[in-house]
C-alpha cells in the first residue's frame, strides 16, 4: 500500500514516497522516510511490507557503503541496480523479501531503475509502485517530456501528490520528495 513514484529530468532524478508506516489497519507513523540515500549520490525508495522494506533497504545501503570502503570507488547507478537485483533473485526462492524499489542516481546521465519484489528490473524514465501508482502512470505520461527543468519536475510531483490525495481511497496526505543531481541529494518540502 506504499505509494512510490519517480521520474528523470534534464540533469536530475526525482523520487517520492508517501510517509505512512502501515501495520494492519493502523498508521503507526506519519513521518516515515522510505527513501534511503546510498553513497550520498543515489536514492533507494522502498515500498511494500513494513519490516521487509526497512530491513532490505538498510541491508543494501550498508552493502553499497561496504563496497566503497573496500574499493574507494562509488558504484554507478546501473551497477547498484544490478547488484540489488541479483540479491533479490538469489533470495527469491529461499528467503524472499516483499519490497518494491525505485533506484535513482546520476552518473553522466540521470538514471531511474524500476525493481520489484520478484526481481524484475528495467531502466525507465518514469515509474510508480503501489496501488496508488496506477493513478500516476497516466498522469506522468501526460505531463512528462524529455529534458524537464527542476521547476517543471516539482510541478509534476505536486500534481502526482494531489492526485493521490484526491483519488486514492487510503488517506496518504504526506509525502517525502527527494531530488538527486550532480550537487547531491536535496529534500523538497511538499506539505
Amino acid at each position: 500500500m506504499d505509494t512510490l513514484f519517480g521520474f528523470v529530468g534534464k540533469d536530475y532524478v526525482l523520487v517520492a514516497a508517501d510517509r505512512a508506516a502501515q501495520f494492519s489497519i493502523v498508521k503507526l507513523l506519519d513521518s516515515d522516510d522510505k527513501i534511503t540515500e546510498l553513497d550520498g549520490n543515489k536514492l533507494l525508495a522502498a515500498g511494500g511490507d513494513t519490516a521487509d522494506r526497512i530491513n532490505f533497504s538498510d541491508l543494501m545501503q550498508k552493502n553499497i557503503h561496504l563496497y566503497y570502503y573496500r574499493n574507494s570507488v562509488k558504484l554507478t547507478t546501473e551497477s547498484t541496480a544490478n547488484f540489488i537485483r541479483t540479491v533479490i533473485s538469489e533470495n527469491l526462492r529461499k528467503k524472499p523479501a516483499f519490497a518494491d524499489l525505485l533506484i535513482g542516481g546520476i552518473d553522466n546521465e540521470p538514471g531511474l531503475y524500476y525493481l520489484d519484489y520478484l526481481g524484475v528490473m528495467q531502466k525507465v524514465r518514469k515509474a510508480a509502485h503501489g496501488h496508488a501508482g496506477h493513478f500516476l502512470y497516466g498522469l506522468m505520461d501526460n505531463w512528462w517530456k524529455p529534458d524537464l527543468t527542476l521547476d517543471e519536475g516539482k510541478e509534476i510531483a505536486r500534481k502526482c501528490i494531489e492526485q493521490v490525495r484526491t483519488r486514492f481511497l487510503i488517506n496518504q496526505r504526506k509525502f517525502v520528495v527527494k531530488v538527486v543531481s550532480k550537487d547531491g541529494i536535496t529534500l523538497l518540502d511538499f506539505d
Partner: protein, 274 residues
C-alpha cells in the same frame, strides 16, 4: 479480533464473498512453475498460525512528551474466550533505564525481553557504557527476525533514556522496528489511539500525561473484550523509570467516568417503549 488477512492480498478492495481464483483470470502463481514469494511466506505463516493461535489480545501504549516517556498497559490475559488473569504484569523491567511492554504471546515477550536484558548487560560489561535504546531495540528486532514465519507473536515497545534523550521504539515479530513519539500495540490499540490522538500534546505536564495514559487504557479496556483488569502506568525519565500507577482497576475508573458525565442511571434499551 476481526480477520484482517484480506489486507494482505493484492485485490483487497473486493468484497469478501468474491473469490478471484474462480471468477477472474487464474491466479498469477498458477501460470508460474515456481511459487511466488507471497506463496512461500503465506504457506509458512499459515502453518505457523495453525500451530499457535495467538492474537495480540491486550492494549499497551507509550508516548514521548516534554517530561520523558509514559508507558501504560492493561493487565488481562486471555486464552480464547477464557480470561486467565486480570492482573498480569505487562511491563518488563529490562534494566534500570529500559522498559519493555508485552503484547502477543506472553512467553515469547517475556523470554525475548529477558534475553535482551542479558545481552544489554553483556554490552555494558564489554564496552563500559550503557547500550542506547535504539541499539537495544535493534538487537531485539534481529533476534526475533531470525524466527520470522515460525509463529512467534510479540509486539513490544522498548522505552528508555540514553545520551540522546528519551527513545521509544516499536518492535514486532514481523521484524518491524520503528522509532516514534506515540505508539499503541494490541487488539485494543485502535480504541486507545482515538483517545490519545485527541488529547496528546508534547508540552503536557507529567500529571496530564499520566492521566492521558490511564484514560486511554481505560477506554480500550472498556471496549475491547481482550483488554481490561487494571491499569499500570510507568514514567521513564532521565534517572531511570518510576512505576507511577501500580494497579488501578478499570471498572472503578469506569464508575468514576460515568459519575462525571452524569450517566449513572442511564441504561441501554433494546426495544423502544411506545
Amino acid at each position: 479480533m476481526a480477520d484482517l488477512s484480506f489486507l494482505d492480498s493484492s485485490d483487497f478492495a473486493l468484497p469478501s464473498y468474491f473469490s478471484p481464483k474462480e471468477d477472474l483470470n487464474p491466479d498469477f502463481s498458477e501460470t508460474l512453475s515456481f511459487p511466488t514469494p507471497q506463496d512461500l511466506v503465506a504457506k509458512g505463516t499459515a502453518e505457523a498460525k495453525k500451530l499457535h493461535q495467538f492474537a495480540k489480545g491486550t492494549t499497551t501504549l507509550g508516548f514521548v512528551f516534554q517530561g520523558g516517556i509514559i508507558i501504560a498497559v492493561d493487565a488481562r490475559a486471555t486464552m480464547g474466550s477464557f480470561i486467565g488473569s486480570n492482573k498480569v504484569k505487562k511491563v518488563i523491567e529490562i534494566n534500570d533505564y529500559l522498559l519493555g511492554t508485552m503484547a502477543g504471546g506472553a512467553a515469547d515477550c517475556f523470554y525475548w525481553e529477558t534475553n535482551l536484558a542479558r545481552v544489554c548487560r553483556m554490552y555494558e560489561l564489554k564496552n563500559g557504557e550503557r547500550i542506547s535504546v535504539g541499539g537495544a531495540a535493534k538487537i531485539l528486532c534481529d533476534m526475533v527476525g531470525q524466527y520470522r514465519g515460525y509463529g512467534l507473536s510479540m509486539g513490544t515497545m522498548i522505552a528508555g533514556w540514553d545520551h540522546k534523550g528519551p527513545g521509544l521504539y516499536m518492535v514486532d515479530d514481523d521484524g518491524i522496528r520503528l522509532k516514534g513519539d506515540l505508539f499503541s500495540v494490541g487488539s485494543g490499540s485502535v480504541y486507545a489511539y482515538g483517545v490519545l490522538d485527541s488529547h496528546y500534546r508534547f508540552d503536557m505536564s507529567l500529571d496530564e500525561a499520566v492521566q492521558l495514559g490511564r484514560r486511554a487504557i481505560y477506554h480500550a479496556g472498556h471496549r475491547d473484550a481482550m483488554s481490561g483488569g487494571v491499569v499500570r502506568v510507568y514514567h521513564v525519565h532521565q534517572n531511570g523509570w518510576t512505576n507511577v500507577i501500580v494497579a488501578e482497576d478499570i471498572n472503578l475508573i469506569h464508575d468514576i467516568h460515568e459519575e462525571e458525565k452524569g450517566m449513572k442511571n442511564l441504561d441501554d434499551q433494546v426495544t423502544f417503549k411506545h
